[in-house]
């Protein structure tokens, strides 16, 4: 359903600071795939996500969604298909606006916005139901400003906002990395539940090796702008963390260096 074909992205091309963020990356995401992505710092994981979401445009190569090339389509138009949660809990919500206002904006993802009243009673009822699903009491604070929520609560809200309208693809870029272990666990559990229940096609960057193996049906490994390994479900289910790290060293010739790495 989503294909990345020979995608290459350079930063500061032609200058002494030239950086190859992604080189000749090919990825074929099938409907229902839940792919975890691991790799060293600067491997190009975020760049891969940004090429899909349209934050960045590839220098060469195509991004194809269901047969349509979208590499030159602006970010805001692609959001019709794509739901996203960022690493920074501050990034996914508007802090001076209320929970219900944030949900109203998420509800309109990819739809035209007119002059109709935003948070109607019908929508608020829907939001209340959705909020109670994540079970952290946000349904009773719908008119509170999001800036008052903790990082974990904001990330849970971001996750709900990104998913409750059923995006074709869900992109999660280290969305638990900025949280303490207990909150990270909560968000991981929620992610798993939501993805399974809604059968969302998901790409999730994580620095937690155990999680990368436990979650999802595919695992890809990146290093220095390349996708160096794509592990299918059959092999993934029997993989251990030390095997995974060994595999990385064997292919890349060096140890996996991730300053946020969690082995599990």
């Amino acid at each position: 359903m989503l294909n990345l074909i020979n995608a290459t992205k350079l930063f500061n091309p032609g200058t002494p600071d030239e950086k190859i963020a992604l080189i000749n990356a090919n990825l074929n995401i099938k409907p229902g795939d839940f792919i975890t992505v691991i790799g060293s710092n600067g491997a190009g994981k975020s760049t891969l996500m940004n090429l899909i979401s349209g934050v960045l445009k590839p220098d060469i190569g195509q991004v194809v969604v269901e047969g349509t090339e979208i590499q030159s389509m602006p970010e805001h138009k692609r959001s019709r298909w794509i739901g996203r949660v960022f690493q920074d809990p501050m990034a996914g919500t508007a802090p001076t606006m209320t929970i219900e206002e944030n949900l109203t904006m998420a509800y309109k993802r990819g739809k035209p916005r007119g002059l109709a009243w935003g948070a109607t009673a019908a929508k608020r009822k829907l939001f209340r139901e959705q909020l109670s699903r994540i079970g952290i009491g946000l349904e009773d604070r719908m008119s509170a400003k999001v800036g008052l929520l903790s990082g974990g609560e904001r990330q849970a809200l971001s996750l709900l906002m990104a998913t409750f309208t059923r995006p074709q693809i869900l992109l999660l870029d280290e969305h638990t990395a900025a949280l303490d272990p207990a909150r990270a666990e909560l968000i991981t559990r929620l992610t798993q539940e939501i993805v399974r229940e809604m059968n969302l096609t998901t790409l999730m960057v994580t620095h937690n090796m155990e999680q990368a193996i436990r979650l999802g049906n595919r695992l890809i490994m990146m290093d220095q702008g390349r996708i160096i390994l794509d592990i299918p479900e059959e092999r993934k289910s029997s993989l251990t963390v030390s095997q995974l790290l060994g595999e990385f060293e064997r292919i890349s010739g060096h140890q996996l260096s991730d300053d946020r790495i969690v082995l599990g």
């Binding site: 979401s53 602006p74 970010e75 805001h76 138009k77 959001s79 019709r80 794509i82 996203r84 960022f86 501050m90 990034a91 996914g92 919500t93 508007a94 802090p95 001076t96 606006m97 206002e101 109203t104 904006m105 998420a106 309109k108 993802r109 990819g110 739809k111 916005r113 007119g114 002059l115 109709a116 009243w117 935003g118 948070a119 906002m161 990104a162 303490d180 272990p181 969690v262």
Partner: protein, 308 residues
């Protein structure tokens, strides 16, 4: 004394529309738009010229609104599509508008005395003026409140709050910015049109310093009345504009100040309002840090372990 305060309230109401425009850009869009100095005079100029040519003052005021929207649209396009820095885009438009305003007016000053204006039927008892102008401003304020709660209005607010987030939900933030700056300058131009009708003339220099006055009104209003929600924030802006005019009227009665000192005083109000919260925050942080350090030392607590 009382008369001058009533007069100040009346003026404050007319300027409140300008302050609402400044609130839209500075607070909602988080975009310091300096077009205001130019578009205020554009509004005054368009209204004055049309009224002297015999057009209905309501139509003239509506045309001023359109003129302001157009001016704001240019600034918005410059900033979003032309990638010109926001402050610079506003300054460029402000300068360009000075020439355009002279073209519109044909001369630096257009007088509209002894003709019917929107203001002339209600000008007599100042109480009536305040009532009618107050209702008018309230209607505009409420319309703005409603707009800011529509889907488009929410996207506009989110653009100023977290641009990356609202883009990930499919809003074209270039468009929301242009819309916001246009609407803001439309309000500013209407305010200019009303001030011209109230004063009996339009002058190319009538907008000089407007941006700072607008900002002062926003800041005074927020400081006194708070800004818990959009509804209260816009109310605070209107009241801030009135209080600003009352302060000015009182300051002028004190013989120490001359009318020409006003801009300095206004600038000082804004400077104080910007600097005080910052200083207060720094001082508070410092005292909290000291207290916590002292606590930690006295209990000789071992450092909390970092994350893995």
């Amino acid at each position: 004394m009382i008369d001058s305060i009533y007069g100040a309230i009346a003026l404050g109401l007319l300027y409140a529309l300008m302050a609402l425009g400044v609130y839209m850009t500075f607070r909602i869009l988080n975009f310091p738009d300096l077009t205001v100095d130019g578009s205020f005079a554009t509004g005054g100029g368009i209204a004055a010229v049309m009224i002297t040519h015999g057009y209905h003052p309501a139509l003239a005021t509506l045309a001023a609104f359109a003129g302001g929207i157009l001016a704001g649209m240019c600034t918005g396009l410059l900033h979003t599509k032309g990638k010109v820095n926001g402050l610079l885009a506003g300054i460029l438009m402000m300068i360009a508008l000075h020439s355009i305003n002279l073209r519109i007016m044909g001369k630096p000053n257009v007088s509209i005395v002894n003709v019917d204006t929107l203001i002339s039927p209600i000008v007599k008892p100042v109480g009536l003026f305040i009532l009618v102008a107050g209702i008018g401003v309230l209607i505009v304020k409420l319309l703005l409140d409603v707009f800011l709660h529509t889907d488009t209005g929410l996207a506009l607010r989110a653009t100023g709050d977290n641009e990356r987030m609202i883009r990930s939900f499919g809003a074209n933030t270039d468009r929301t910015k242009i819309l916001g700056v246009s609407l803001s300058n439309g309000l500013v131009a209407v305010s200019g049109a009303l001030i011209a009708q109230q004063g009996g003339f339009a002058d190319v220099t009538m907008g000089v310093g407007m941006i700072v006055i607008g900002l002062a009104s926003v800041i005074i209003g927020e400081a006194i009345f708070g800004a818990r929600s959009v509804f209260f924030a816009t109310l605070a802006v209107v009241l801030g504009s009135i209080i600003y005019r009352i302060v000015v009227a009182l300051a002028l009665r004190v013989e120490l100040l001359k009318a020409s000192d006003l801009k300095l005083v206004t600038a000082l109000i804004v400077i104080v309002a910007l600097v005080v919260p910052y200083v207060r925050r720094v001082l508070k942080q410092r005292s909290v840090a000291r207290k916590r350090s002292a606590e930690l030392l006295s209990t000789a607590m071992p450092g909390k372990g970092g994350r893995s």
